[in-house]
Symmetry: C2
Amino acid sequence: MSRPTLADVAARAGVSAKTVSNVLLGRRHVAEATRARVLEAVTEVGYTVNAAGRGLASGRTGRVAVVVPMIYQPYFAEVAERLILALAEHGLTTTLRIAHDDAAERDAVLGLTTPDVDGVILCPHGLSPEVLGDGIVPRPVVQLGGGIMPSFDCVIMGETEGFRSMTEHLLATGRKRIALIGTGPGGAPQGSRFAGYLEALTAHGIDLDERLLITGSDWDRRASGYEAVVGLLRTGVEFDAVMCFNDAMAVGALRGLRSHGLRVPQDVALTGFDDTAEVEFTSPPLSSVSPEQAQMVAATVRMLIERIDGYAGEPRVVRTGAHLVPRESSAPAESAG
Amino acid sequence: MSRPTLADVAARAGVSAKTVSNVLLGRRHVAEATRARVLEAVTEVGYTVNAAGRGLASGRTGRVAVVVPMIYQPYFAEVAERLILALAEHGLTTTLRIAHDDAAERDAVLGLTTPDVDGVILCPHGLSPEVLGDGIVPRPVVQLGGGIMPSFDCVIMGETEGFRSMTEHLLATGRKRIALIGTGPGGAPQGSRFAGYLEALTAHGIDLDERLLITGSDWDRRASGYEAVVGLLRTGVEFDAVMCFNDAMAVGALRGLRSHGLRVPQDVALTGFDDTAEVEFTSPPLSSVSPEQAQMVAATVRMLIERIDGYAGEPRVVRTGAHLVPRESSAPAESAG
DNA sequence: ACGCTGAATGGCAACGTTAACAATTGGTCC
DNA sequence: GGACCAATTGTTAACGTTGCCATTCAGCGT
């Protein structure tokens, strides 16, 4: 016995297939008695809608592509999981795409590698307007995290705000020479996160010491944080705190500091960004900044669904907050055991 | 201009739609010249196959559901990522399903929550034959990890083997009282992993001390390992090594040991299982057992594709190996700094 | 020369659903 | 009472692809 169709349900309920369809789609003008009878027939025969048929007739697939550079990094895994669950609540299924590089992200956005979805959620690795070029974006796209893109809706994290408050937190707890490990095209950390760091220093009348700016080889690898901190130690520059652009680098940096005999937080304070689950269980637990993932995901899904439903206004930008999550790794040096 | 169809390609190439379809499906009996002309037309008009149409006509969706209990735990994230990439190589797209509990896993296997896929890959949390009941499995299912299920193909990790060699490794490096943190229905660790531990002890003529067996509250949370080790310390039982059922618990256990002033590996050796990326960057890095993920994933995908292609033999069991990955956390007590 | 074989291609129907519209019913308004 | 409206249900024709089968044609053996 093969999978039941609308016709089977219709026969059972004594109505036409179209009426069953109307009930399932929640159309108005269906008598209450009919609706009840149809729903009963649906469960009796065990009907589930055939996505291929529906897709062909309606032009909608009910599917959304979530594009991430990788999922083995906790930040992306957590975001992807939240997105999948949020989309499921709206009846949308998810196909997860792993886009390792800029070109793969571009192809996903342009629809070359993501046909047959109603929309795309992009968690970018490093996609920039230049890489995207002037290709037509053929389908709703919402970007979660990363910089502002002119072609589609973007949800921007409170990076500057988060780094400003983290920097102030470190200054307030007695740290004076704060190294920054991040990424940037020019060999030194740049962008919104760097901006927050700089704002806080300026506000406290501290000059920027460029010897404290270290570039990790790769935004997303723990090894990158390890290498960066080892490089910093090798220069012999004095420092009493290390801020990392994200948690993954901070975990690597922690290992680097410890393997050189430095204690966290007694000798050096250490902080991350993203507030992923992994930094709660390092030794010591790492201070981080929570980018309000729940807010970001909610805004992303809301905007995507609006676009799928036909909204065609100008690209929008939503900025979410960020709050400090202080833990043991940034406790004042003197008070720590 | 809407998305091009087979008819558009056909018009461009001067053939029928059916011939274009034949070329795209790699059918025999297509002249080389025709094939070339069709492929050229495909790129010229930018054609991509419409999955809904193909699905409706062929009965295949080209999609596979990967069911995991969560993805924010590195083990599942890593496996899911490998599966997605391996399936993509075979032209299959993936929908990721998060199944939090046994009932959700059962529903995914039975197809209730995974219609419109050609097959299901299940990475189980704790699905057992009893939970599955005698429901008919309506579509190919392959299980990766977990125990043997009578209803579908299973890939079984070398759990016993891995725990046996890890236990022997610890004994060989001078540890005498090895605690085991895991899960089991009876309040003590059980199953294949426990069996490996026991085999090694028996082989060395060591009696099992049940006070060294601790059950974590939850297989997959780091907090569970933390709580377990704290509970163990509270009992006052002597131990010089802790083996955990997986890396997540080991990370939590490490935190628990450190926060009670115990040094790893000088005072206590500590080990995990799964060899996830996270244990390379703890302090110290944790010894673990690699379950040969690449092998497991390859076998899983191969068996699923065979099933999708119509193979209908009895459920099969593939056992993959496991090898020890010793790191600093299990170095001999006297030699460690 | 004839039928036969196999290669190459195309015609037609079907997959399960929904959009657009038609039809029927029952009631309301003047 | 008749025209009109709203509510409800049904009819027909797509949507884009592939399966099945028919057709054409060239080359071959006899």
